[in-house]
Amino acid sequence: MRRLREAWQGFKAGAWLGWQIESNWTEPFLFAIYSVIKPVAGVLILVFMYLVVAQGGLENPLFPQVFLGTTFYLYVVNVLSGISWSVHDDREHYGMLKYVYMAPLHLYGYLLGRGAAKTLVATISVLITLAFGMAFLRVRLSLGSPGLLAAALMLGLAALAFYGILLAGVSLLIARHGWMVGDVVAGGLYLLCGAAFPLALLPAPFRALGLGLPPTYWLEALRRALLGAGLHPELAALSDAQLLLILAGSTLLGVALSAGLFRAAERIAVRRGLLDMQTMY
């Protein structure tokens, strides 16, 4: 009971701190402008690539699929890599990780709190991007399956947070290169989970890898919920319920893996004296 209370304390404080760090770095007006421009600029790059490089049209049914996949991928970047970045940031930049660690809170809960702040920021970006797509890029979204959308969002975000904790454990152990863990994983996933193009375009081994990744199923479920159809023929045989079941399974796996591996990483970090290591890199 006491540990649970401490985990909740850590979560609340982590979420508060995360939000302050995300939103408090400039004046509210500049923050509002940045919050709009960043995701819109990101989607415009995609539109440019799609229209000019791939020579596709906005009316092509592939476009909303790519648009939606890339938009929701913002969560992957923010939450998954954001949590592991928190470890690097607290240790290297603020020099505070050791004080956080030695407080009577659950570091795991604290990092989940930091992830919650990242989720909030990503949600703002996703909503702005979706609104922009609907207003200017002729993307038509429908809330045909609100249950599927809610369940997929909940399970997917939870899975991202737990896998983010797992990466945070890796960051704990590689003090010097901790900053790149999240970036590398998020970049790799973008390629492999069919966010921007169908998995069928990937070479067979990468396609198989993509089919083993939870975000592939997550994005597919979101596409079905908001566009009425999925992107990947490989997953067409799965019902919505089966997709959700796979997502639930991968979330549970994430919980188990992150709890075990993060704890192990923590122990190794204490043994090696890495918790307060500032590399000055």
């Binding site: 408090n24 407080a103 809170l105 204490v270 004296g273």
Partner: protein, 331 residues
């Protein structure tokens, strides 16, 4: 079982760091079978030069680092077996660093840490106001941390340590690199806090001899990972009372150490260049030895510019124990 009156106890505590292969691959012994007992309600000092093992010891006690062997207990709890329980009893402040969330105000930084410790928000704000006033920072509560000078930031960190009213507080070089006035304010604050909280324990590491002398009930002298002596400052200085401590200023001689090497009755010697003269601190087994020391120095071409008999200080205790000053690097 650790006796109830002990806040900290270590048993043969050892820590070895293994350097990476590309850094030489050798082992560095940071703590060498340290046995220490700190009583509850005590301000205990760990005095030693840079690299002596003070911070390593504090880090182990604060559950940030695992020992290689031996055991350590804080508030009666084994730091390896139950670190989560240890953390409920402690807090720590480190000096010489620029930690803190710069985007937050002083008050926000402190409030957030109070939340880490489950202190109710209103109570946290009351304590923050009170402690900031004590260190003369009440008017900086709403200042963002990145606007603070390093001294102000350190004062904020000191407040962060005391804010949670810890049973045992580790202060690792809390005045390192600070100007005289700020260091004095922090020392005054520590004293006042202990007066008001006599049941609390502080373990202070420092390489400032006067700080240990001024603040600590007891002091352990540590060098190269080993505890060399442990007693009240007065008792430590008393160990030198039978000896004679002198300070000499010499001209015309560059190395008194070489000149007096192997001379009977010279227990310890430290020298340094000062204003174009050689300052030599000498600990002699008895005053009478001074005559032969001066004769030897004169024979080596030294001219005595000044001679003072000194009262023993902790610095002299360290010199007598280790053979060099606190400020000198280990050879």
């Amino acid at each position: 079982m650790v006796p109830m009156d002990l806040a900290v106890k270590t048993e043969d505590l050892t820590r070895v760091f293994r350097l990476r292969k590309r850094e030489g691959g050798r082992e560095v012994l940071a703590l060498d079978r340290v046995n220490l007992e700190v009583r509850r309600g005590e301000l205990f000092g760990l005095l030693g030069p840079n690299g002596a093992g003070k911070t390593t010891l504090i880090k182990i006690l604060a559950t940030l680092l695992a020992p290689t062997s031996g055991r350590a207990f804080v508030a009666g709890v084994d730091v390896v077996e139950n670190p989560a329980e240890v953390r409920r009893h402690i807090n720590m402040v480190c000096g010489g660093e620029t930690s803190g969330y710069g985007l937050l105000t002083v008050e926000e930084n402190l409030w957030m840490f109070a939340q880490f410790y489950g202190i109710p928000s209103r109570e946290a704000r009351r304590r923050i106001g009170e402690l900031l006033s004590l260190v003369g920072m009440a008017d900086r509560a709403k200042t963002k941390v990145y606007h603070l000078s390093s001294g102000m930031r350190q004062k904020m960190n000191v407040v962060r340590g005391f804010l949670t009213d810890p049973e045992i507080l580790f202060l690792d070089e809390p005045t390192l690199g600070l100007d005289v006035q700020t260091a004095r304010t922090i020392r005054g604050f520590i004293r006042q806090w202990l007066r008001e909280h006599p049941d609390r324990t502080i373990l202070l590491t420092t390489h400032y001899m006067h700080e240990a002398d001024e603040l600590c009930d007891r002091v352990a002298i540590i060098d190269r990972g080993r505890i060399l002596a442990c007693a009240a400052p007065a008792a430590l200085k008393k160990t030198l009372q039978r000896e004679a401590v002198f300070r000499l200023y010499l001209e015309g001689l560059a190395d008194a150490k070489a000149a007096l090497d192997g001379m009977p009755g010279v227990r310890a010697l430290a020298q340094q260049e000062e204003d174009g003269r050689l300052r030599v601190d000498l600990i002699l087994s008895e005053e009478e030895v001074l005559v032969s020391v001066l004769s030897r120095l004169q024979a080596k071409g030294a001219k005595l510019a000044e001679l003072r008999k000194e009262e023993p200080t902790l610095e002299d205790v360290f010199l007598a124990l280790v053979g060099r000053r606190l400020s000198e690097e280990a050879p």
